[in-house]
């Protein structure tokens, strides 16, 4: 079922309203507790960009361009609101551009999270919790207010989903499915109701082989989002597979530590935010992040690192030279590729990828 039909069905059968959500970090649990379906938009390629380009400069990233193009093409007409986390300068400004210049008539809810703060920063934790409260206040006139029990239940469901995602990612080599199909399941959580997503992931998990079945070269994939998803086919076709994931759309949003089950829900959500694996858009320590990635890559026996960045994505691009340097010193070669989020993965890019994968060592 495609997204549009799914959204319509959720509205009709479950009475669920829908909120369009910009990338990357936001408390999806709050939407679930409100019985609201969050549908993330990562700049899907394919919509005519011309209307958006009269509002955004060409040096703004493809995600922002495509989001605006999507909204201006009327594709977001079915949603009941737009949630805009403050991910980067461009998306932050887009969150202002849309309502301030009346490019949408949908209510826009902004969510600001701390930047560059360590998990033990009291000020940052206090701010995050206050922002959560503020978000609940802003959402209330449109969607009501969740009870503590509803929030707790939503948190539990999303923790379960996170654990399943981690399990799948950890055991990627045990699945016969290709990367595209594998990632389609992981990414379905961007629009599915959490319980539907859990069911989908469980089904995939059932197909796990008792022994590792992947014979292709294991590599680590990093970046904001694997779009167009042809990139994953290209990796497989070139003789490698995504053995370790560091996409912001996927593993960087997983809470690596469970909150205290007795915590107040807002404290639990705060704990979960600060328990995410480092992300460039959160201003994580550069060396700490790179070393974490290296550890993960080594644990999966990765032969190479592919950094697949969206062109003009500054937060991501700043981290690239040092990450490559740290991987190089550890003897793991890396390739940096940029995408403009066009509808198709170019042949030229495929050739570069093939050349890179070809020179990687075969696993023993």
């Amino acid at each position: 079922m495609d997204r549009k039909a799914y959204i319509a069905e959720q509205k009709e059968k479950r009475g669920r309203k829908t909120v369009l959500v910009f990338p990357i970090h936001y408390p999806r649990e709050v939407l679930t507790a409100l019985n609201v379906l969050g549908v993330e938009i990562w700049g899907p390629p394919g919509f005519p960009r011309a209307p958006a380009s009269t509002h955004l400069q060409p040096f703004i990233c493809g995600i922002a361009h495509n989001i605006l193009a999507f909204i201006m093409a009327g594709k977001a007409d079915v949603v009941d609101g737009i949630l805009c986390p403050h991910t980067c300068d461009s998306l932050q400004m887009l969150a202002s551009l849309l309502p301030d210049f009346k490019l949408t008539d949908k209510p826009c809810f902004r969510f600001r999270h701390p930047k560059g703060k360590s998990p033990d920063s009291k000020s940052a934790r206090g701010f995050y919790k206050a922002e959560l409260k503020g978000l609940l206040d802003k959402l209330e006139p449109f969607f009501g207010r969740p009870s503590e029990a509803e929030l707790q239940k939503a948190i539990g469901l999303h923790l379960e989903a996170d654990e399943l995602k981690l399990k799948l990612l950890d055991q990627r080599a045990y699945f016969t499915t290709n990367d595209r199909a594998f990632y389609e399941v992981l990414r379905a959580g961007e629009y599915l109701w959490v319980e539907d997503h859990i069911a989908m992931m469980k089904k995939l998990l059932e197909s796990k082989s008792p022994e590792p079945v992947e014979k292709r070269k294991p590599i680590m994939v990093s970046g904001i989002v694997p779009e167009p998803m042809d990139i994953l086919d290209a990796i497989n076709n070139a003789g490698a597979f995504a053995a370790a994931d560091d996409f912001a759309a996927i593993s960087r949003r997983i809470a690596m530590k469970r909150p205290n089950p007795d915590s107040d829900p807002l404290d639990a959500l705060t704990d979960m935010f600060f328990a995410r694996r480092g992300c460039t858009t959160l201003g994580t320590e550069l060396e700490e992040r790179a070393n974490l990635l290296l550890k993960l890559a080594k644990s999966r026996d990765c032969r190479g690192l592919l950094i697949y960045n969206v062109k003009f994505c500054e937060p991501e691009a700043f981290y690239v030279p040092d990450t490559q340097d740290i991987f190089k010193k550890a003897g793991i070669p890396s390739l940096y590729m940029e995408t403009e989020l066009e509808a198709e993965f170019s042949g030229q890019a495929s050739t570069r990828l093939e050349a890179f994968i070809e020179m990687l060592e075969q696993p023993s």
């Binding site: 461009s90 000020s123 701010f127 922002e131 320590e285 500054e314 700043f318 690239v320 030279p321 040092d322």
Partner: protein, 440 residues
């Protein structure tokens, strides 16, 4: 800190630097006197304040060469709360200010290329690339930039500054404090202020750790108050351009902005702006304009195109166009009114978070309209700056509003504040000419 470095620094600061500055000032004054009464078309007479500015900046950068190892050195972003660092005796380096200087001196391109060769993408902010290039190659037009003991970045100007300083922290292996100012919609929220106030205290704690000194609260109040007075004095200087003809162009203001960025909270900064104000006031009372034939008045939005200031100012001045205000120069004055000496922390939190770059586009539109009204602007040039996304997003819509709803003619100029490879002078010139023709 070693005693020999401290002695050397004291000698440089108290003897060599003043001597160097005096010699340079004497030379500059002689050359100024020789040119003073000569025509300077299409501009008005030269400003003596420029000599003072040179003296100030020369002393700042010259003593800086010998600062590390003698006094604590902090590298900070232009929007950081520098007043908090003053009581600890830090020598302050502003990499943005240094990068702008590199661009003006036409050194930025090579430094950017150096950074790109080290793997930094060309799409990154050119200030950051210039800074990385300078750090990695050791090249700078100011002789030497002292190494930092502390890095402070503030997100009120952009989130680029956050990632930029993360890279610096790894390169120098020194502590970094990230001062996170939440983006403000409307009038902001009380918990924004709480968050910022808590960070003031965290930053103070870090400064105490790095310098081994305890905070002197009196000194903090003194420098904070002085910083506010500097901003107000800068605002008064800018306000003089409400007069017709305006005694200074915005292009001049881009140059005179140096002290408010790099020396805020210091007495020499305040006295410089008082001097500049008096000189401009004198021009106003005598009806002397910054350009010879001011026919139209314009607003500039966004950062300057540092490497093209001379060319652009001449092209506009020749057509009788004077830039009389800008959102950029205004940014160092616009929030000074928030300061309250009786509530230093909370009022400073507002002062630092409510600058144009940290506020929504509705606020920016209102501000531009107010500036256009107050300074009687006939048109506006919006520099669409490839290196500054937060400043540039929204400009297409802003131009449309100014044009269609308020009859203010606008031009979008695509360029970059530091990297000349992202600007086509020929195309720029053609656009400027076409824009000026629309006023005939």
């Amino acid at each position: 800190m070693t005693i020999s470095r401290q002695l050397q620094y004291a000698l440089i600061k108290n003897v060599a630097a003043p001597l160097l500055v005096k010699t340079d000032a004497w030379k500059s004054a002689r050359s100024f006197r020789a040119k003073k009464d000569k025509p300077n078309p299409p501009f008005g007479p030269r400003l003596e304040s420029y000599i003072k500015l040179k003296e100030l900046m020369l002393e700042h950068y010259f003593t800086g060469r010998y600062a590390d190892g003698a006094v604590p050195v902090a590298w900070i972003t232009s929007g950081s709360p520098v007043e908090l660092l003053r009581p600890f005796g830090f020598h302050i380096v502003y990499p943005e200010n240094h990068a702008a200087l590199c661009a003006v001196r036409r050194r930025a391109k090579d430094l950017c290329v150096h950074a790109e060769n080290e793997g930094f993408c060309r799409d990154l902010c050119s200030y950051a690339r210039t800074d990385f290039g300078s750090v990695m190659s050791g090249q700078t037009p100011v002789g030497r930039v002292p190494k930092p003991d502390l890095l402070v970045t503030c997100t009120n100007i952009c989130q680029t500054a956050l990632a930029w300083y993360k890279v610096l922290a790894r390169k120098f292996n020194v502590p970094l404090y990230v001062f996170d100012t939440p983006f403000i919609y409307g009038e902001g929220e009380e918990h924004d202020v709480d968050y910022i106030v808590a960070q003031f205290h965290e930053l103070i704690e870090m400064c105490e750790k790095v310098t081994g000194r305890k905070l002197d609260q009196k000194q903090l109040t003194y420098h904070t108050q002085l910083g506010c007075e500097c901003s107000k004095a800068w605002g008064k200087v800018l306000d003089l351009c409400r007069n017709r003809p305006a005694p200074m162009t915005t292009f001049d203001a881009f140059i005179y902005i140096g002290p408010i960025v790099a020396m805020r909270g210091l007495p020499e900064c305040l006295s410089f702006y008082k001097f500049l104000h008096d000189e401009l006031q004198d021009r106003v009372s005598r009806g002397i304009g910054a350009i010879q034939n001011e026919r139209y008045r314009l607003l500039w939005d966004n950062l300057p195109i540092w490497f093209a200031i001379r060319d652009l100012s001449t092209a506009f001045a020749q057509g009788g166009f004077n830039f009389v205000c800008s959102t950029y120069t205004n940014a160092w004055a616009e929030t000074a009114h928030h300061f309250d000496p009786n509530d230093v922390y909370r009022s400073s939190a507002k002062l630092y978070s409510r600058i144009i770059l940290n506020r929504d586009l509705r606020n920016k539109a209102d501000l531009i309209l107010k500036l256009c009204r107050d300074f009687q602007c006939d048109g506006a040039v919006l520099h669409s700056d490839r290196s500054c996304k937060p400043y540039s997003v929204g400009q297409y819509n802003l131009a449309d509003i100014l044009n269609r709803e308020h009859g203010i003619k606008t031009m979008i100029l695509e360029a970059d504040h530091g990297d000349p490879r992202s600007y086509s002078p020929e195309q720029g010139e053609l656009r400027v000419k076409a824009f000026m023709e629309t006023f005939q």
